[in-house]
Symmetry: C2
Subunit: 199 residues, 2 copies
Amino acid sequence: MAALSMRRVAKEVGTTPMALYHHVRDKDDLLMLTLSGTAATVPRPELPSDPRERLLAVTLHMHGTLARMPWVVEVLSLGDLTDKGALWMVEEIVGAGIACGLTEAEAVRAYRTLWHCVYGDLVFRRAMERRAEDPDRKRYFPGMLTDADAAELPHLVALADQWSELTEDYDVSGQLSAVIDGLLGRAGREGGAGRERAG
Amino acid sequence: MAALSMRRVAKEVGTTPMALYHHVRDKDDLLMLTLSGTAATVPRPELPSDPRERLLAVTLHMHGTLARMPWVVEVLSLGDLTDKGALWMVEEIVGAGIACGLTEAEAVRAYRTLWHCVYGDLVFRRAMERRAEDPDRKRYFPGMLTDADAAELPHLVALADQWSELTEDYDVSGQLSAVIDGLLGRAGREGGAGRERAG
DNA sequence: ACCTGAACACCGTTCAAGT
DNA sequence: ACCTGAACACCGTTCAAGT
């Protein structure tokens, strides 16, 4: 949130903003410190033992947890993992990737890609909510499209009316499942599960 | 950028900050307007005709273009497409998805997922660059791990030394290619191309 | 309709000074 | 080592007043 300013935090804690600078470098540093311990408040779920299902379950758990604490998402955009209590999810994702036949390097890359999917959904879901709260807000897309654009942008014009419904119908679980299929590639299919995806 | 403040833009244009409020609702509105025309400055590339290759090519073009204009990425986080000149990329992605056998709804979802992958990479690549520019910045992960954590977080402890290299080695093209495989699912494999991914 | 100046209620950060 | 007050250089936005 924007509620996390140096001055506001200082007031909350009962000191001056300047006193904080003896404990943190700058605002970003303070923000990252505020994450300490937040993961501990969320109970660790039971996970399926099949590695592919486990991979999906942990990723969905991460998504669901962060969806309920949007300010954490903003702090995570600084690009560091500062809460040790959250690392078990990264461990599980990398571990499950390896158990599915990925190399270590591939598993780390897969973790990043899955994180990007989770993070992106959270950011734009939140943006949608914010815009929904303010109904007077100008909407640009797809309202800016007219029939004259049909030659250049046929699909977008055809889908213009349904666009917002389709966007709200975004299915995190299904999409992550598909992404995992892609990331596991041949490794996932020859591993025994032999899973195939429809749509 | 943070350079786009009401007051700074007003000074640049040669008026007062308040005059801007007769043309935009608020700062977000101004930011979205600044995007108008930016896409026109980028030449539209030639694209492969095979729909799956086309899907990857457009997505990579989008990524490459935005990587060179980071402030645009920040504005896009507001969640609207305000520059008509950029819509051809969305059109191409949705169109290629459909050409690969996805339904319209699936193609829109696939577009969102690919956008999340692109956006996430841009956000965290940028965060990494910022941290690299400031070498005194505290690093939390994976430096916070010790041998005592090996029981709980075996993979992370084992990978701690290589983590930053592995993170920098993130291969956008390869990962997007894998994600596309997953998103196309059976549709992509029975479509004739019959493509299989290794790792 | 369009612009203005002054004001309100904030920011992050620095710096010299205190204990 | 730790905290303070005052100050610097900013923010977005509102509002009554001007043309």
